[in-house]
């Protein structure tokens, strides 16, 4: 017998949900109460159990699909009353009349799913050919997975989108020559890459930027004290180290969101990227396993990597695998700024130039070296309060580096 399994009631006032996972596939046998579907409704994930023992014959929903209570989700073949498979039960039915129709079921190895077996009308197959779409790759939205014209069109569009990074539609530029002379120069590869990457990041990540101030008077004295001719300590290696410790304390900052899979990837490694300004444009080499290195080692590596970045000698691998980025414009100026997150990371720390500011301490204003740090973060996974705590921790640690040892 075939049981049509419809989405049961999931709870009070929950009428629909989104399929987040289908842990079974056609042909699987399931036991009653085995989870056959995971649904997200009202921000909770609900596991939907099978109502019967049997074999899944058809799955009528797809991951990501919005489904309603009462909607058919799958067909499950249950075993006959005496435990015989369906075909045999039928054979046991009273012998049919002389010319009785025969319904037999023959099971053999599943057919190889070749392109030939895709269900699509000849006109749809022709459309696919004309659009250079491999029809065997298209997912059909019709009954029993039949591929419709719309599916082919959607797929053709999808392919085009996937090839280069999404080009954000832009209005045509006006004719500037009406106001004066111009010169048009083609974009170099690096510039083009940066442009695309930043547009995409800005487009997909809802950015929020927080600012906070760190009193680095003492820190600067310390850094100067330990600087040598060979190794001039700046604040960047120190911030790199603090950032790695902060990621450990605040794991949401060491994460990436995957909206398609509806997953968040938490990273168990601590690689920090540092934005380096070069002639060709911005590049971001990555310093790996910062948690295992001391500040001197980080300073040496940073110096070496920046030198190679400016000489245009970085490999692609050296610019990949970062968890969090620090961008320091202090050498140039700026009182504070809101950087764009280096996708697929979750946050970025902006470092401007420190300034002497009057700070009210013990009932009087005293001159202190103050750094206004900024933190842009992905608001999809990081809430504002958490970001404030994260940035505060960085500022406090800059003021009292002992925290690095106590908490970091």
């Amino acid at each position: 017998m075939i049981t049509e399994f419809k989405l049961p009631e999931l709870g009070e006032n929950i009428l629909s949900g989104t399929v987040v996972k289908i842990p079974v596939k056609t042909g699987d046998s399931v036991k009653k109460e085995d989870t056959v579907l995971e649904i997200e409704a009202s921000k909770a994930t609900i596991e939907v159990p099978s109502p019967v023992d049997g074999i899944i014959r058809e799955i009528a929903v797809q991951e990501g699909q919005e489904i309603k209570v009462g909607q058919l989700i799958m067909k499950i073949q249950t075993e006959g009353a005496k435990g015989a498979p369906e075909g045999k039960t039928e054979a046991k039915a009273p012998p049919p009349a002389q010319h009785a129709p025969i319904r037999e079921e023959k099971a053999a190895a599943p057919p190889p799913e070749t392109a030939e077996e895709v269900a699509a009308a000849p006109s749809v197959r022709r459309l696919a050919r004309e659009r250079a779409v491999d029809i065997s790759k298209v997912k059909g939205s019709g009954p029993a997975g039949r591929i419709l014209e719309e599916d082919v069109i959607a797929y053709a569009r999808g392919i085009k989108k996937e090839q280069p990074a999404p080009e954000i539609q832009q209005e045509l530029l006006p004719d500037f020559t009406q106001w004066g002379e111009i010169e048009c120069v083609p974009m170099g590869a690096t510039r083009l890459h940066i442009a695309r990457h930043l547009s995409a990041a800005w487009h997909v990540i809802p950015h929020v930027t927080h600012f906070d101030k760190a009193d680095i008077t003492e820190l600067e004295i310390t850094l100067k004290k330990y600087s040598t001719r060979e190794r001039a300590l700046t604040i960047t290696p120190f911030l790199i180290k603090i950032a790695a410790s902060a990621l450990k304390l605040f794991p949401h900052f060491n994460a990436s969101v995957d909206m398609r899979k509806r997953e968040i990837a938490y990273k168990k490694y601590f690689n920090i990227g540092v934005a380096v300004d070069t002639e060709k444009g911005l590049v971001v080499p990555v310093i790996r396993d910062v948690d295992k290195k001391n500040i001197f080692a980080i300073a040496d590596e940073l110096k070496e990597v920046s030198k190679r970045a400016r000489a245009n000698k970085l490999t692609i691998a050296e610019m990949q695998g970062g968890c969090f980025t620090i961008t320091n414009l202090g050498g140039i100026g700026c009182t504070s700024f809101a950087p764009i997150i280096h996708w697929p990371e979750a946050a970025i720390l902006g470092v401007p130039r420190s300034r002497w500011e009057p700070v009210y301490i013990d009932k009087q204003f005293v001159p202190r070296k103050v750094l206004t740090l900024s933190l842009s973060f992905d608001h999809r996974i990081i809430d504002g309060a958490e970001a404030a705590r994260f940035l505060r921790w960085i500022c406090q640690t800059a003021e009292q580096p002992l925290l690095l040892e106590m908490e970091g």
Partner: protein, 464 residues
Amino acid sequence: MLVLGAGPGGYAAAFMAADLGLAVTLVDEEINPGGVCLFRGCIPSKALLHASKLISDSREAAGIGIDFGKPVIDLKKLREWKDHVVQKLTAGLGQLCARRTIHYIRGHGRFLDSGSMEVKGSEGAEQKISFDHAIVASGSKPVTLPVASASRRVLDSTSALNLEDIPGQLLIVGGGYIGLEMGTVYCELGAEVSVVEMAPNLLPGTDSDLTDVLHARLARHFKSIMLTTRVTKVEEEGGGLRATLQGQDGKISRQHFDKMLVAIGRTPNSKGLGLENTDAELTPDGFLRVDPQRATTDPRIHAIGDVAGEPMLAHKATHEGRVAAISLSGGKAAFEPRAIPSVIFTNPEIAWCGVTETEARKRNIRFTITKFPWAASGRAATINRMDGFTKLILHPDTGRILGVGIVGDGCGELISEGVVAIEMGARASDLELCIHPHPTLSETIMESAQLATGYGTHFFKPQS
């Protein structure tokens, strides 16, 4: 563009290419387009089968109270009528050719290289034609039986269609569709027909449940059907032929026949075309090797129809012809059918399309079957022909229609519904939910689909 051979493949390709704006030359030995199909295949054989059906239907009418008596057969007139049908259709094709300003050349063509052909006219006149692209549509010819000498009494399908006379005793060598169709014609016209077939069943390769129904009827009308039997020797003997037959157990018998029809298959016409002067390659079976656009291994030469591979059927040739012409005109076409229908015009007819049961087993495809017997069809009862059934081969999980097989009176006209269903990716439930006209034999397709999805109207099956 040049097209060699004006059968249903070649003329369809030429017409399509001309309609798409190409300058087309069509070369064939006959006076008009038509090929084997019209001159000595489908059309004359179906005309004669129509005549033989009239004879058997009128004979069987006696059973429902209408006795026409013994028919008087005017063989000359029958022959003339058949020839007239062929002449009319081929002349029509000739006109269609002229209307499209296709350059039709009568003669035997031979490739000189991948860009030119020499055509020898019937009067020995020769001409050389250059082309950018060529389509080979040279068709096929009957395979001869080595042991049968070149005797006037040994026929092939072409001479059998000429209907010179009706032999008293006719031996048909080969139980394929051509042998059985011609056997049916000669049997109804009065010959005593015997069939020998090497394989253990008629129509080798066809689902045996379908052929069983035909076999049962033929066994009543033919003198004998000898399976797993081969002809080992044929000799002229006193105004006839003596055939030596060897059965499965090795037992040898000698029998006398007036004539013999050899119908043991067809072989592609790929020799003598000068293909060795091109880069087109042949398969071990002598077919031209082609890709989905029907291009051969020589990029300037395409091939279609019987010479390009099985199944050797006219409608397959025509479809390929259009694919090749469209693709040569820059269109995106491909030969990728899900269902090529086959019809055997015996009495009863057999028709199928898509995956057969035999093929599904061989390829390890999972399937379910439903069969609706014509005994439960109102229409079959009113035409007094309950010998038949309609079978659907379905995907066991989705109910998608993979194949359709039918045996029964006139079922060749029913199979196209199966072709459309398969090509559209339809499921049994789609056919079940389409209203079919009553009372017609087409209802058997709907009722078969009903059985697949649950309850049939005209058949009660207790549910477990």
